[in-house]
C-alpha cells in the first residue's frame, strides 16, 4: 500500500499533470457551457419545454413545444427548434414504438427461415433468431420522448473523449517515463519492492488518474447538461431517447447514464493500461507517441470504414475507438461474426474491455520487471542509421544529425510517409453516376454561359419532353406477346435517357444562376475541384491538418527540450555558436521539417485529383464552383487553389517555428510535447469532433479553409498568440541564464 501511496504522491506532485488537468477541465467546461444545440434558442426555453412535457399528455406535447418556443422567439420558432421536421419525426417514432418492435421481430423471424441461400445453423440464421428474441423483453415498453439536449451533451461527448485521451497519454508518460528520464528507474528496480510492487503501484495510480479524470470531465458534462437543459424523468425507459429507440435492453435513462459512465471509464482504463505497456516498452518518448498515434489512427480508420453488418464488423466493434463509445453498443441489437458464430456486440465489447485491461496490465508488469525497463535509451527498437561519411565540424549538419537521427524525427517522418503512401494507394475517385452525367454535359457546354448554351439546353429540354411522352405512351399500352422484346428494349432506352434528367436539371439551374450573376462565372468540372477544396465538407482537410500538426509536434518538440532535460544545454550555451547560431540553425531545420511534413500531407491528394479528375477552366472565377458562391474577391479557381495551398504552407511553417519556441521554453520533453499537443494538435482534433471548433484558433489556417471558416477576430487572436509564443521562445535565453 505504501508503494501505491508514493506512486500516487509522485503523480499528484507532477506540475505538468496538475496543470494539464486544470487546463483540460477548463476547456471541457467551456465547451459544455458554450454548447448551443439550437442556435438562437435560450436554455430557459428548452427547460420549460421539457418541464411542461412531463405533465402534458401525449396529444398535446408538440403543441406545447411550439407554444413555448413562440414565447421566446417571435419569428420562425418552429423552424428553429424543429428543423427538417426532426422533432416531429422522432416523436412519431416513439408513438409507433410497439408497431416498430412487432415489425422488427416478425421480419427477423421471417429472415431466419432457412433457404437455399441461408442454411440452418448459419451465422445469418442464428443472428436473425437472436435479434427476434432480443426485443421480446422491451416490446411492452412505453417510450416517453421530449428534447434530450441535456443527455446528448453527456452521451455524445467526442470532444471530452479527446481531452481524456490527451490526459491519459500524458499520465502514461509521467508515470512510466519520468523515472527512466531522471535515472531513478535503476535505483528503484534494485530494491526488494522495486519491481512487481512498483509496477502494480504505477498501474494503480494510472487507473486512479483515469477514473478521477473521467469523473471530473464527464461528470461536469452531465452536470452542465442537467442545469442548462434538464435531464427529464430519469425513470423513463431508455428507448425514450431517440438514439436508443432500438435498444434491446430494459433499463431506465438514469440506469443508462450510470452504465454509460462505467463502461466509458473502464474502456479508458483499458486504453491507459495499453499506453503504459507501450510507454514502458519503448525507451524513447517520441517512439511511444508515434506508436500511439499509429495505433489510434488504425483504430479510427477501421471504425469508420467497416460497415456495421460487414463480415468484418468485429474489427469495427472490438476496437479501442468503439469501446470508448458505449452509446453505439446500446443503440441497437447486433451480432458480431466471430468464427461464424453470432456473439452479441454488447457482451463481446464488455468482454473485450476486460480482456484488454487484464492483458495490458499483465504485459505491462512483465515488461516493467524485466531488464529492458531500465536504462536510458541504449537499446532502441529502431536501428540507428549509420551515415557512412567523414564527420564534419559544420554546425548545421551536426544539428541535422541530432534532430533527424538522435531525436527520431526521421523515424516520425518515415511513419508519416508510410501512412500517406498507404492512403494514396487506397484513394478512390468517388464518382457517382449523376456526377458522370453532369460532366458529360459540361463537356458539351463547359465554360462561359452564352446564348448557344441556352440553345443547347433548350434542345435538351425538348428531347426530355419527347422521351417522357414516349415513356408515358409505352407504359399506357399493353404489348402483345410477340412485341415484348422490342417493347422492353424501347422502355429500357427511354429509362436510360431519363436518367440524365437530374443532371440536366442541375446544370440548367446552374446556367440560369450564372446568367443572372454579375461575376462572369462559368460552368466547370466540379467533382475534382470540390474534393480538392473541401466544398462538400472540411473533415478531410482538418484530418490532414491534424496529421501534419501531430508529426511536427513529434519532430520539433525534442529539439531544445531534450537538451534541457539531459542537462546538456548549459554546456552548449557556453560555446561560441551555442546560442544565436544554434537557434538560427535549429530554426532552419524547423522550416525544413515543416516543408517535408507539408508536402507529405498535402501533395498526395493534389496528385491524385489531378490524375483522376478533370481539372479544366481554371481561369474561371472561383465562385463558379457550387458551394463556393459566397467567396469574396475576384480570384480565379487556379488562384484560389494556390492561395489555399500557400496558406497551408505558411501555417505549417509558422506553427513549426512556434513549436520550436515552445520547446525552447520547456523544461523537459514531456512538457514540450504536452504544450505542443495542447496548442496545435487539440484544435484540429476538436474540429473533427465538433464542427464549431473549425473556426477557432489555428484550425482554419492549417486546414486552408479560412475563407469559409474564420473571421478577422479569430485571425487577430491567432496571430497575437503565435507572436506571444515566439517572443517567449526568443527570450528563452534570458530565462535560462537567470
Amino acid at each position: 500500500m505504501k508503494i501505491i501511496g508514493y506512486e500516487l504522491y509522485k503523480l499528484v506532485k507532477s506540475k505538468l499533470t496538475v496543470i494539464l488537468f486544470a487546463v483540460l477541465f477548463t476547456l471541457n467546461l467551456a465547451s459544455a457551457l458554450s454548447y448551443d444545440p439550437v442556435e438562437g434558442v435560450p436554455d430557459e426555453c428548452i427547460r420549460r419545454i421539457q418541464r411542461e412535457y412531463l405533465i402534458a399528455d401525449s396529444q398535446s406535447k408538440l403543441e406545447i413545444a411550439r407554444n413555448t418556443a413562440n414565447e421566446y422567439i417571435k419569428n420562425n420558432a418552429a423552424e428553429l427548434i424543429f428543423p427538417d421536421k426532426t422533432f416531429e419525426a422522432e416523436l412519431e417514432k416513439t408513438k409507433n414504438y410497439q408497431d416498430t418492435m412487432t415489425r422488427l421481430r416478425e421480419t427477423a423471424m421471417q429472415n431466419a427461415k432457412p433457404t437455399v441461400f441461408m442454411k440452418a445453423g448459419s451465422f445469418e440464421q442464428q443472428s436473425n433468431l437472436n435479434l427476434a428474441a432480443a426485443y421480446e423483453n422491451v416490446s411492452d415498453n412505453v417510450p416517453s420522448y421530449y428534447p434530450t439536449y441535456g443527455t446528448q451533451l453527456y452521451i455524445n461527448s467526442e470532444f471530452t473523449d479527446i481531452l481524456m485521451l490527451l490526459l491519459i497519454l500524458t499520465g502514461a508518460v509521467v508515470i512510466c517515463g519520468r523515472d527512466k528520464m531522471n535515472g531513478m528507474a535503476i535505483v528503484i528496480r534494485q530494491t526488494p519492492k522495486g519491481r512487481i510492487y512498483t509496477a502494480v503501484g504505477k498501474l494503480f495510480s494510472m487507473l486512479t488518474l483515469t477514473v478521477i479524470s473521467g469523473a471530473a470531465l464527464y461528470g461536469s458534462q452531465l452536470l452542465v447538461g442537467a442545469v442548462r437543459f434538464g435531464l427529464g424523468d430519469l425513470s423513463r425507459c431508455i428507448q425514450s431517447i431517440p438514439q436508443f429507440i432500438l435498444c434491446n435492453i430494459d433499463m431506465t435513462v438514469g440506469q443508462y447514464l450510470i452504465i454509460h459512465f462505467l463502461i466509458k471509464v473502464a474502456a479508458f482504463c483499458a486504453v491507459a493500461a495499453l499506453l503504459m505497456m507501450i510507454c514502458t516498452y519503448f525507451k524513447s518518448i517520441i517512439l511511444f507517441f508515434t506508436s500511439a498515434a499509429i495505433i489510434g489512427g488504425v483504430s479510427v480508420a477501421l471504425y469508420l470504414t467497416i460497415e456495421d453488418i460487414s463480415a468484418y464488423n468485429s474489427f469495427k466493434y472490438l476496437n479501442l475507438v468503439c469501446l470508448t463509445q458505449p452509446q453505439h453498443l446500446f443503440s441497437r441489437y447486433l451480432d458480431l461474426n466471430i468464427f461464424s458464430k453470432p456473439i452479441n456486440t454488447q457482451t463481446a465489447c464488455l468482454a473485450a474491455i476486460g480482456v484488454i485491461l487484464a492483458a495490458a496490465a499483465v504485459f505491462y508488469c512483465m515488461i516493467f520487471c524485466t531488464r529492458r525497463a531500465a536504462g536510458k535509451g541504449q537499446n532502441n527498437l529502431i536501428p540507428k542509421l549509420q551515415i557512412k561519411r567523414k564527420l564534419t565540424a559544420d554546425l548545421f549538419i551536426n544539428e541535422c544529425y541530432k534532430v533527424f537521427i538522435s531525436n527520431k524525427a526521421l523515424a516520425v517522418f518515415a511513419a508519416l510517409a508510410v501512412i500517406q503512401l498507404y492512403g494514396f494507394f487506397n484513394m478512390t475517385a468517388e464518382y457517382d453516376s449523376d456526377q458522370k452525367r453532369y460532366d458529360s454535359y459540361v463537356e458539351q457546354i463547359g465554360g462561359e454561359v452564352t446564348d448557344e448554351t441556352f440553345t443547347f439546353l433548350e434542345n435538351e429540354q425538348l428531347i426530355f419532353e419527347q422521351v417522357n411522352r414516349e415513356r408515358d405512351e409505352l407504359l399506357s399500352r399493353e404489348p402483345s406477346d410477340n412485341e415484348w422484346g422490342s417493347y422492353a428494349e424501347q422502355l429500357r432506352q427511354t429509362e436510360n435517357k431519363l436518367k440524365y434528367k437530374d443532371a440536366f436539371d442541375k446544370i440548367y439551374n446552374h446556367a440560369e444562376y450564372i446568367a443572372n450573376s454579375d461575376k462572369n462565372l462559368q460552368i466547370v468540372f466540379e467533382e475534382g475541384l470540390s474534393r480538392l477544396l473541401g466544398v462538400n465538407g472540411t473533415d478531410h482537410d482538418i484530418l490532414m491538418a491534424l496529421i501534419a500538426m501531430l508529426a511536427l509536434a513529434l519532430c520539433i518538440s525534442p529539439i531544445y527540450a531534450a537538451d534541457r532535460q539531459k542537462g546538456i544545454s548549459k554546456l552548449l550555451q557556453t560555446t561560441v555558436k551555442g546560442r544565436g547560431s544554434l537557434f538560427a540553425d535549429d530554426s532552419v531545420i524547423g522550416v525544413i521539417l515543416s516543408l517535408l511534413v507539408y508536402f507529405a500531407v498535402w501533395l498526395p491528394e493534389l496528385i491524385f485529383v489531378i490524375n483522376n479528375y478533370r481539372i479544366e477552366y481554371l481561369d474561371a472565377p472561383v465562385q463558379s464552383i457550387n458551394g463556393l458562391e459566397n467567396i469574396s474577391g475576384d480570384t480565379t479557381i487556379l488562384g484560389y487553389i494556390i492561395l489555399v495551398y500557400l496558406l497551408r504552407l505558411i501555417s505549417a511553417v509558422v506553427c513549426g517555428f512556434a513549436m520550436l519556441c515552445v520547446s525552447r521554453l520547456s523544461a523537459n520533453l514531456i512538457a514540450a510535447l504536452s504544450a505542443n499537443m495542447l496548442l496545435f494538435v487539440l484544435p484540429p482534433s476538436s474540429s473533427l469532433a465538433a464542427s464549431g471548433a473549425a473556426k477557432v484558433w489555428i484550425s482554419p489556417y492549417i486546414a486552408g479553409t479560412p475563407a469559409r471558416d474564420a473571421d478577422l477576430a479569430n485571425l487577430a487572436f491567432t496571430v497575437a498568440v503565435i507572436l506571444l509564443i515566439c517572443a517567449g521562445g526568443m527570450l528563452g535565453r534570458k530565462l535560462l541564464r537567470s
Binding site: Q378, A393, I397, I568, L571, T575, V576, L582, R737
Partner: protein, 252 residues
C-alpha cells in the same frame, strides 16, 4: 586574465556567493570547498551560464564578459559537473559536434579530436556510442571536449568524479600539461586532485573565500607533522572534522 569584482549571487533569500573578489592569471587554480560552498555557482557565472546580482563584474582582459559575448565564449572551455551527453552519439561524433559549436574548422577539429581522445585514453573506443560508456569514460569525454579549440580559460567542475586512481592521475597530468599558457580553474572537493598541480588554492565556505594562497602558504601555520593541504582544509571546517572523528569512535 580573469578578474572577479564584488561578485554576489542570491537564490531567493539564500546567498550563494558573497563579495567575492579574485584575479586569475595564467596557471592552475584549485577551488576547494564542501557541497553548497558556491563552487559550481561561481563556475556557472564565470562561464556566463548564470547571471550574477547587479553590481557584480566579471572581466576578461579588462572587458566585461557579458559585453564580449561570443568573443569571450570562444576562449572558454567548460566541463560541467553533470554527465550530460548524447547517449546515441559516438565519442568522436560528440567531439566534432562540440567543435562545430566552437566554430573550429573541420580539418583542425578532426586533428584535435584525435589528439584529445588519445590524451584521455579513449582513442580505441572513439566510434562506440557514449551510452555504452562507463561513468569514468563519460567523464573523460567531457574533459576532452573542454580542451577543444585551445581555450585560454578552462573551467573544470569536478573533473575527477567517478574516476579510478589511475584515471585521476591521467587527468591531473593532462591538466598540468595544458596549463602552461592557460588559466585553469578546477573545482573539486577532493584535496588530492589539486594538491600537487595547483599554483593557488582557494578555499570556499558558505559563498565566501575562507582562505587563498599556494599550498605552502596555506600549510605554513600547521605543525610539521601534519603539514598537508588536507589538514589545512580541515582547519576551516572544524565541525565536520569533529563529526568525522566521533563517527570513527562510534565504529570502533
Amino acid at each position: 586574465m580573469l578578474t572577479v569584482t564584488d561578485l554576489n549571487k542570491h537564490y531567493g533569500k539564500k546567498q550563494a556567493l558573497a563579495d567575492l573578489n579574485m584575479t586569475f592569471d595564467v596557471g592552475i587554480y584549485g577551488l576547494l570547498g564542501p557541497n553548497g560552498a558556491g563552487k559550481s555557482t561561481l563556475m556557472n557565472i564565470i562561464s556566463d551560464n548564470l547571471a550574477p546580482d547587479s553590481g557584480s563584474k566579471i572581466l576578461w582582459d579588462g572587458e566585461d564578459i557579458t559585453k564580449l559575448g561570443s568573443q569571450f565564449r570562444a576562449k572558454v572551455g567548460y566541463m560541467p559537473q553533470q554527465q550530460s551527453l548524447y547517449d546515441n552519439f559516438t565519442a568522436r561524433r560528440f567531439m566534432m559536434y562540440i567543435a562545430a559549436l566552437k566554430g573550429i574548422p573541420t580539418r583542425s577539429a578532426r586533428e584535435q579530436t584525435e589528439s584529445l581522445l588519445k590524451s584521455v585514453e579513449l582513442d580505441d573506443v572513439a566510434d562506440k556510442h557514449i551510452g555504452s560508456f562507463s561513468g569514468g569514460m563519460k567523464q573523460r569525454v567531457l574533459v576532452a571536449q573542454a580542451l577543444l579549440g585551445d581555450p585560454k580559460l578552462v573551467l573544470l567542475d569536478e573533473p575527477t568524479a567517478g574516476l579510478d586512481p589511475k584515471q585521476r592521475v591521467i587527468i591531473r597530468n593532462l591538466i598540468h600539461s595544458i596549463a602552461k599558457d592557460k588559466t585553469v580553474l578546477v573545482s573539486t572537493h577532493i584535496v588530492s586532485d589539486v594538491e600537487s598541480i595547483a599554483d593557488k588554492i582557494i578555499i570556499m565556505k558558505q559563498g565566501r573565500i575562507a582562505a587563498s594562497g599556494s599550498v605552502e602558504e596555506l600549510c605554513a601555520a600547521l605543525p610539521e607533522e601534519c603539514r598537508d593541504l588536507e589538514n589545512a582544509y580541515m582547519k576551516y571546517f572544524p565541525d565536520e572534522s569533529t563529526e568525522a572523528l566521533a563517527d570513527e569512535d562510534n565504529r570502533v
